[in-house]
Amino acid sequence: MLIIGNQRFDNHLLLGTAQYPSPQILKQAILASGTEIVTVSLRRQSPESQGGQSFWDLIQSLNVSVLPNTAGCRSAKEAITIAHMAREIFNTRWIKLEVIGDDYTLQPNPFELVKAAEQLINDGFEVFPYTTDDLIVAQQLVAVGCTIIMPWAAPIGTGKGPVNPYALKVLRERFPDITLIVDAGLGLPSHAAAVMEMGYDGVLLNTAVALANNPVQMASGFSKAVIAGQDAYLAGAMRPRDLAVASTPVLGTPFWHNKH
């Protein structure tokens, strides 16, 4: 059960809508993933483009919740304005808060991020802050009222998978009651399974699905991996050990003799 504010979702995968080969494939990928939440953005568009109407119509036809982002913003001020614009257009108080601090890593700027989060929470938003795996930044976000934290696994679009699993584990341990969603940097279903196995509440993806040769099948793969990882977390995994231990019973092994 993925908890967002006072809503509950069965599916723990959130999917981005960008970079797909076609709207048709985007639609199929969303359906294949079973996601209930997709991210969208706001962009300048010419009047002739009909204001992204066809894209917006497509999304609305899918009966999913929409999570607008502030992608591309570089200051708290910009992000706050975009958030308000998004609330009006998309008619939702949800906002995926991105405040980028660096052009090459697209890393969130923790200083501006916390500032924007605080303001937006005061303005009544449900803030989904895209942040690094830094514990103190997460603490600050919680301190200003965030109930969701979205640490990266790796820089956006790299597909590296978790570059610092230790830090992700620390976040989970330290925030048992916060909704923790890994956002950005996953490349393979095994990455998604691995963070769910740590007890994460969800996974937000885009590039790894959209840029697969077959986005629809990849969406399906990620969907299963997220459930698999959550199953493992709930099932309580064995602890890894250094010494081998036979799975087949040793007692009664044929040809074994006491004189050995």
Binding site: G16, T17, L42, R44, G52, K77, E88
Partner: protein, 66 residues
């Protein structure tokens, strides 16, 4: 009156409200959101929000996002 609309310089006859600007530029009012000089202008304010010389206007609409 000179405006910077979505990073393009445009000359628009004054006086002009945000609502009028959208009309003149052929934007469908439904699917856009507007900010002027970095400040969000809610739909309910568009009729009253008068643009001033040199204002920077952002007009955005839904787009794919990650």
């Amino acid at each position: 009156m000179n405006l910077l609309i979505n990073d393009s310089e445009k000359t628009i006859d004054a006086p002009c409200t945000v609502a009028q600007l959208l009309l003149r530029l052929n934007y469908q009012s439904q699917s856009v959101a507007v900010a002027v000089d970095g400040q969000f202008i809610p739909k309910s304010m568009r009729e009253r929000a008068l643009l001033t010389e040199g204002a920077t206007v952002e007009i955005v609409s839904p787009m794919q996002g990650g």
